[in-house]
Symmetry: C2
Subunit: 285 residues, 2 copies
């Protein structure tokens, strides 16, 4: 496995692979890799010929009061994991490589970025879209894998890729969970002993909503209220940013769950902000 | 020469050419082709293997009070010209292909777009950057040719391409002029019998400034004032948007012309807004 630090280096590796007829797969990450990331890497590995994992903690997607500086960084373990899971190259640029003096470009997706996490993290999705466009520009993958854990990000990236005619196929991979249901996240490592058990409240409340909807509950407000109550009861250390039930494609809030909808939650614990989501499917759909 | 109307069609043509080992050159245009465009096409033709000319009058780069609806459209002549100058394919998407229902993405370059024409045409360069990113995404050229006539556009596109790591080499081509010095522009066709001779005032005043600077004049304000007076005298039908002397790379205004600078002007005639620019080079530089 090769490690590339500059755009020129990763381009040379990819050009070499392409010249040999390889299709290029990519998994963009911010490192601190866990089983969720490795499920993306495994999916990409089995689909493509030459697999690039990017590791870059992107400063522009963090707000001024967010956790850029304390975001977990586990470089040695990440490289070992990438190699073990069959990556051909890791692209790990520095912030100076990505954002040199004079950098001035932003990719903005309107609408989809103004709801859910976008409402609580202004500028976050501009940072995400811009860095993903850059990473795609630098690597030139045929396909890239994203997790459903960051559901809004997935929808926004699909929109950007379609809108800019980027020649990249976007693939999605289900959420990987801990035994108690907590969605895998690099930020979970920051939860303390009191927070960690309470963090399972998100998935538990979502799962209960999933069951209720499968049994016929269809009032979105009522289902959202139950999720909220479940989290408030089981996670007193958490402050809820939002509990929303939205259309899977447009992310617009729904009133009646008469076709599949996504329930999405964000909860701020003292040590980390967590998000989770599940598809709610009404009976017979 | 093939004509592609959809992204799928142009991608198929380009993929076929690439499979045969061709390098892809591109000239993005809004049609109404003139000798300036053909100089771009000729330059691209001599440099590359497979040449795509795009023809798309991009609605998003026109302001609400600008001339989108009346912009010249000369499709048959454009196709004949492209074929005669050796284009392999014309990519001519419809607005619906480029901006389907739900389109939501904007590429924005800050700073460089806030001066010169950007000050008078809010949103113009967002439209330009977004459509050029899309055209590059759709076609996937190795290199693309732009004219120095739209000097600010050239600098902004170079910035965007560098910032997003787009794998496209940007090439520039000098302004082509009419015998009286008027810079070639599709909008020149709209000038009436009284405006047309006055339009030569822009290049005449710029040329005089070029001579003055070559002879040692170095006060930017003084040189700009002379350009302004020259245009006001010779083109009473024109309203000047700006006369500016700027750094060629940053587009920041300069006070002393002690290294090469660009003099850029924009003048509104009743029938068309015209722009022009020239490089001012002090003696010995």
């Amino acid at each position: 496995m090769k490690v590339a630090r500059t755009v020129e280096e990763i381009r040379a590796l990819v050009a070499q692979a392409r010249a040999a007829g390889a299709r290029i797969g990519m998994v963009p990450t911010m490192g601190a890799l866990h089983a969720g990331h490795y499920s993306l890497i495994d999916a990409a590995r089995s689909a493509g010929d030459f697999l690039v994992v990017s590791i870059f903690v992107n400063p522009t997607q963090f707000g001024p009061n967010e956790d850029y500086r304390t975001y977990p960084r586990t470089w040695e373990a990440d490289c070992g994991g990438c190699e073990a899971h069959g990556a051909d190259a890791v692209f790990a640029p520095t912030p100076e490589v990505m954002y040199p003096e004079g950098f001035a470009t932003t990719v903005h997706v309107s609408g989809l970025t103004e709801v859910l996490c976008g409402r609580y993290r202004p500028g976050h999705f501009d940072g995400v879209c811009t860095v993903v466009a850059k990473l795609f520009g630098a690597v030139g993958p045929d396909a890239a894998w994203f997790g459903r854990k960051d559901y809004q990000q997935l929808v926004v990236i699909r929109r950007m890729v379609a809108d800019l005619n980027l020649p990249v196929r976007i693939e999605e991979v289900p959420i990987v969970r801990e035994p108690d249901g907590l969605a895998m996240s690099s930020r979970n490592a920051r939860l303390d002993r009191r927070e960690r058990p309470q963090a399972a409240a998100l998935s538990r409340a979502l799962r209960e909503a999933q069951v209720r909807v499968a049994q016929g509950a269809c009032g979105a407000q009522e289902v959202a209220d139950e999720i909220r109550t479940g989290i408030e009861t089981d996670a007193p250390l958490g402050d809820i940013d939002y509990v929303e039930i939205v259309d899977p494609a447009t992310l617009a809030g729904v009133e009646r769950i008469d076709r599949p909808a996504v329930a999405a939650v964000a909860v701020r614990f003292p040590s980390a902000r967590l998000i989770d989501n599940m598809l709610l499917t009404p009976p017979g759909r």
